[in-house]
Symmetry: C2
Subunit: 341 residues, 2 copies
DNA sequence: GTTAGCACTCTTGCTCTGCGAGTGCTAAGC
DNA sequence: GCTTAGCACTCGCAGAGCAAGAGTGCTAAC
């Protein structure tokens, strides 16, 4: 059944008011504050209908109405307005994300930081998966008599290095030889492809010194590659939840923090979300622990391909309009920064 | 005034009991549970003396006694026993810190992780300061037509790299030329020395291409060096505080988390502590926010020189004996791992 | 010096109460 | 037939009052 114009207006007013105040909103408040042109009694009747249709709930008889997840969904899909960021906010975002240093991970961490500051919620970001990323070259550099730096550079610009202590000293020239050989072998292959290859075997050589070196490097090469696959998860604004009335008791705050701190779980949840701006509200989330949270994520791109995610998590009562705009603005900005001209 | 043998025994019992139970301990409990050989009334008299001397306090008339910071100090200095770690714990520690991968930062992060798991407290670690660390070499590697990787290796084994996007394309050979020139210029100097030099000026050269390249690399070189100076702070077990009765209210838990999350402050606090095992109890801490926390830190070494710190923070009521032993064991282990044979 | 006994104090948990906010229903008005 | 005023009713919340329990401090006897 379609909602009448007036019902929509009432619903919008309730949602807005509740988002702002966190208090159940009553019919009297509504008619006074929002100039509905009808009496509280009429509004009560309408609210009663809305409740029947599942848009409102009632914490108890003598309290005002509270929007249900369904109401938030309607609000997000049809009722809320776009919010323009203030000039100050825009400036702060572009300033902090700019710079010619293309320190990918740092920049992303930064983005999460800005996001939590503006929204006063807990924000997070994950770096892109690198499965499809192709290796550019491998470099093994001397650092000490028996220490080397193994450096792997991917086409995506991702760089990873590991400091290795070798059991035996190595002949200097083997390093560059092995680097070249490995680069020759693996350049242009994706990380996941390489990991499925029989890497160790693929390095039998008749130059004995090099073969010995390869033997101690290879296992670490694999481990380093694996760690390149791992997405990083950044969290920021964790303590923001303490100023949110919904989490004004120890049990809830604890559950929230523990949920978010189960990082691997949380990474999986984020990874499985679609591209673009995605909003999931309360019970729309599959996870038990997120039944009264809302999650807003958006994706950013690197050179139009690799995809990372940025978002916030908070109570279902959040400023969907503002938060969505901010997240969109930041991810757009990120994508632009990360895309070569 | 020196405490009698019996007073010491009573004090020890009170501290132990309170550490275990978090409940004020009464005279009756004490005489029953700890087999003191005297009646509750006698114990009451002794407790009254101890209170006068500042070792005990009284939350209110009809509650048992609670140890003061002074009592904990005495306990830590004279009363507590060394605790041997279980075989399981020892094994778990050495297993997790071993491996020939000398990924310094990762290993340290790991150590903090183990520490919080064993102690059920919030743990932290800071990586060594690199001020005195000397540069080994600088390498600028091609990554893309206009992207390079700037890599700085210090003698301490610390490696830092930054991906830079240059405004103009660069001639390939300039990179290795500039790398060599920079290495020649800075090798063996400490990071802080270099930062006080007039770096940009020191790179005037008549090879024009190289001079242009240097111009865009140098500012980033400085920034990267600066970031090498920054110690990293790892925190773990943050949500452990929720299971500690002392933080069983929102206000306190919030304050704790916010205090620890002021990372720069917290880094400074840690950095200013002496070497070796240091225990500060409640009011012994200078910081306002730590007046009812205790902090235990110990230092680990890298090749006998550079010094990082590992520790826990929790309520003054903590298992000083166990925690101290664990921290000592882990830092010993770390120092051994990080020291070349 | 040690101990039993007892009055006293303070916290904690419980119930009871009144107040305020808001609803739902009914009957009258437009 | 929709809208509105009026009113009874419901519930949560905060404060008061009370009893139970734990532990002390003091006194007097051992």
């Amino acid at each position: 059944m379609e909602l009448t114009e007036r019902k929509l207006r009432i619903l919008q007013a309730i949602v807005s008011d509740f988002i702002a105040s966190a208090e159940p909103v009553g019919s009297r408040t509504l008619s006074k504050k929002y100039d509905m042109g009808v009496s509280p009694a009429t509004i009560r009747n309408e609210m009663s209908d809305l409740e029947e249709q599942g848009y409102l709930t009632h914490p108890h008889t003598s309290a005002g109405r509270v929007p249900s997840d369904r109401a938030y969904r309607l609000y997000v899909d049809r009722l809320m307005d776009r919010v323009e960021l203030s000039e100050r906010e825009k400036r702060s975002i572009s300033e902090q994300l700019a710079g010619n240093i293309m320190e990918l991970d740092r920049t992303i961490e930064h983005a999460a930081n800005i996001l939590s500051e503006i929204t006063n919620l807990t924000s997070f970001a994950i770096t892109p998966k690198q499965e499809e990323s192709r290796l550019k070259y491998i470099n093994i550099l001397p650092a000490d008599e028996s220490t080397v730096v193994l450096m792997i550079v991917a086409e995506s610009g991702k760089v990873k290095n590991t400091v290795l202590r070798l059991k035996a000293p190595y002949p200097e020239e083997s390093l560059s030889l092995l680097s070249k050989a490995m680069t020759y072998n693996y350049r242009g292959k994706t990380i996941s492809d390489i990991l499925t290859m029989d890497i160790i075997r693929s390095f039998e050589t008749d130059i004995e010194a090099m073969s010995r070196l390869a033997e101690s490097i290879m296992p670490n090469f694999i481990r380093t590659l694996e760690s390149m696959l791992d997405t990083n998860l950044y969290l920021d604004g964790l303590t923001n939840i303490f100023s949110i009335p919904e989490y004004n008791n120890l049990e809830k705050a604890k559950m929230f923090l523990e949920m978010v701190n189960q990082r691997n779980n949380f990474k999986d949840v984020l990874a499985s979300r679609d591209e673009g701006v995605v909003i999931t509200i309360g019970s729309e989330n599959r996870e038990d622990l997120m039944q009264d949270c809302s999650l807003i994520t958006a994706t950013y791109h690197i050179n139009g391909k690799l995809v990372g995610k940025l978002g916030v998590i908070g109570p279902t009562r959040m400023k969907y309009d503002k938060v969505t705009s901010v997240i969109e603005y930041i991810t757009d900005n990120l994508s632009r920064t990360f895309t070569l001209p």
